[in-house]
């Protein structure tokens, strides 16, 4: 399979996993950079539970659709702007995780208290404009809010996670919601004990190695495969 075909397959797997976990419902998209190019693949204006391989669009860093017939997402500029301004990012998920969303509409910062939360050491930034990210200007602002982190909350409007690979961006989406769930729960029963920066660093070393990430990715791919059969 060619690298681009593999990317297409992984984008569809990512879409199914995010839909299966209800990290997206009717909306949301996934994108991935085509290596050594100014282009990336992105899901069209079709629900992630339903999207297919041949429906993916190819978009360049000027925001032009260079391949594909389906309508482009209203928020394509969110992906384009981040791909353009963040060379480290090769994959993006645009999701609507329910518990993480709650943290975006209060004065409470989402900070890690458990192992998989360690990727979010220092807290997850919030982009406070509640608008649809439909222009390059807004997309660039979201990218600035993201900075060098793996995730950013859009106030009352879901989240963006990024990674060096599609599995990494997807696992960041899963871990972000998990981190939100654990902190949410902790706040209900007592005083949360945050991970220190040092503890977080140590945990990231242990949790991010490809072997673990791949195990988790394969677990979720297997689960959706069993659902589809």
């Amino acid at each position: 399979m060619s690298p681009v075909d593999q990317l297409r397959k992984d984008i569809v797997s990512a879409s199914r996993i995010l839909a299966h976990l209800r990290l997206v419902e009717g909306f949301g998209h996934v994108s991935a950079r085509i290596p050594d190019s100014d282009r990336f693949l992105i899901t069209p204006r079709i629900s992630l539970a339903m999207v297919h391989d041949e429906q993916l669009l190819t978009v360049n860093l000027k925001g032009e659709v260079v391949d594909g017939n389906h309508p482009v997402p209203f928020e394509a500029w969110l992906h384009t702007a981040i791909m353009k301004t963040h060379p480290r990012v090769n994959a993006i998920t645009r999701i609507h995780a329910r518990v993480a969303n709650i943290f975006s509409v209060t004065d409470r910062r989402l900070e890690p208290v458990h192992n998989h939360g360690s990727f979010f050491a220092g807290g997850v930034p919030v982009y406070t404009r509640p608008d649809l990210i439909s222009t390059e200007q807004l997309g660039t602002e979201v990218g600035e809010a993201l900075g060098d982190r793996p995730a950013v909350l859009l106030r009352g409007n879901g989240q963006v996670t990024v990674g060096r690979t599609i599995p990494e961006a997807v696992m960041m989406a899963i871990y972000l919601e998990e981190a939100a769930e654990v902190l949410y729960g902790a706040l209900q029963i007592g005083k949360p004990i945050p991970l220190t920066i040092d503890e977080s660093k140590q945990r990231q070393l242990e949790a991010l190695p490809p072997v673990d990430l791949e195990r988790a990715w394969n677990f979720f791919k297997n689960r959706i495969a069993r659902e589809d059969s």
Copy 2:
């Protein structure tokens, strides 16, 4: 397909979607005005998960069943009175959403904090009599409580949502529960940051266009189709 046949089909889809999302359990109904007439279609006294096309009743604005053999819902007057007094309304859902219901039995107002909540800017009214809406008088009172809004809470007894079309009334039901869930969660972890009226207006412009509404509607129709197969 004739417009009325399409309405019948959409009422059954709406019923299945609401049942699938557990926005109704054993009870609840859906109605839709027959264009350019003094009549509307309504589901009979059958659970929405089980209702079929040919079981729908036709009722006129005097509350008379003019077509159909199945028993009429105890709350048919709720639909009749709103259809009669609110010409803008072409479709109604009568649901029992769980989190929205919680807001109807406390002193806490349901106000929007997230994007899909923007339709409920200014707060969702509560009709405070806990009775079954079984007379024209009660139905008219509920209609007055509704006013020009998309939804009204019936104290301890579910909700009513309305729309210009069936998909709109259904999406209002879905967004109402979502708005309740987000605010409920926000109240558990900190101080909620409400959408301002201006922010809500802007979001409504972005979220209500037929194309987006239809995407969401198709997403949910697809999901129930896959469940049924």
Copy 3:
């Protein structure tokens, strides 16, 4: 079908419904009085999700198994003592509803705030001994705590609901958990507004008629039938 065969069939339906709704997990039982006799039918020491018609036991009011080969539940005396001391009761569920259980281990009384909660006007009593109800003495005490109400909480140990019929006892189980869920939620967001005694009485008149109860019962029977097919 003979009345007793119908009872057997309804006990199995009740068991499946309670298991489906997770109102029981591995444990729990259902019993029903054989009309005009000193006997009742009861599920044996088999999970309600798995129990079959021919496995039901017949027990008399002295606590003797007069028909059936399977082991009798450890808590058979709970059923026997209530059947003996409460002639109004023809059916009993012994369940482990999760949210209602929470109210049994705190100082917070479970009182109705929503329509289906109206059956529990005045609050649900708690039997405070945490023991297994394995003797006639303990069973009689639970019956005394129940009094003329439809339900009693066993501290940290589930619940008992009763009815004139099996559908009524099952609907009381469902409504009890629903009442607990609504009050639980209300307590998280503000000050709950309880139903007054008068409001509760009015709602009971509206909600208990056989036609409504039967609709709900049929809804749940239909749902489990679709799951089994």
Copy 4:
């Protein structure tokens, strides 16, 4: 079936049950001592939802894999150290239960308030280092934190439960999460009423007998069997 073959079968059943109940997601393992030996069986670095009989590893108390080809879990030392230092323990689950996890990241102790919680009388200890348990030293420390109890929380990183048999270790995992859920809920609505030590002892006598434990184990085995078919 030989005793070791039965153990293998039970480890796979335990893995499926824990995955079905979402007490593990992509990670987690189960181990069981081979009677009258210095060896135990353990699941490899494969998600418990997917692991098969022939993939199990045999490890000795020096931490050496003496049979099996699949990669050993990163936390094999957790199992080895407990098996070595706790002769009473014949089976171990390493899980990631969501609500119990919350108690490990706050200052709130997990103490029993309901019947199945009685096994945790006196409270569940927390091992406060958030690290992966990847060395004999760390495994031994976890064993010390466990002491003579059925469970220990690893701060922000899941739990360990143990038993004399596999069903017992699994039921401790299930009851641990249940105890956490009930206490979590109780804390939201009022003042929890803990089981006294005496009440807990009495409940343990009633709840632990093999016949009850086996009923619960069979219930869960049956449920996963129905899912797989």
